[in-house]
Amino acid sequence: MLEGKKIAILGDRDGIPGPAIEECIETTGADEVVFTTTECFV
């Protein structure tokens, strides 16, 4: 499903941070992570 796709990651400081998701996505068939951020709702 992620094969060949561009990925935008909206992480959450109180949930799963962006870099942790990015590490995971790099093990899939996704083409490229084009944006990663970690939002903070405080």
């Binding site: 990925i7 935008a8 909206l10 959450d12 949930g15 962006g18 590490e23 996505i25 084009v34």
Partner: protein, 108 residues
Amino acid sequence: MDLENQQRIKDLADKHGAENLVVILGGAEAEASGLACETVTNGDPTFAGPLAGVPLGLACYHVVEPEIKAEIDDQVYDDQISMMEMVLDVDAIIEEVKTYREKYSEYK
């Protein structure tokens, strides 16, 4: 979803094509995750940001959803996500994000 990130997502959809872009969420709460999913599929429901009235229809999943989890290396998922997964209300998050995706996403 903050206004700066709305603009980034809009720009990326323009640049790469909405059909080629997948948004992956890491939100701690079901409601906030659902709101983010709604924003990148149907537009900003608060009408405050660049995605107000802009239904991009993007594919959008939370990282704990089975469709995404299945594609990630088990060991890396365990190292990076499992700890937080135990304290999040995963069922509620999945339900909320899925609801908006099925309603508004054009590229599931």
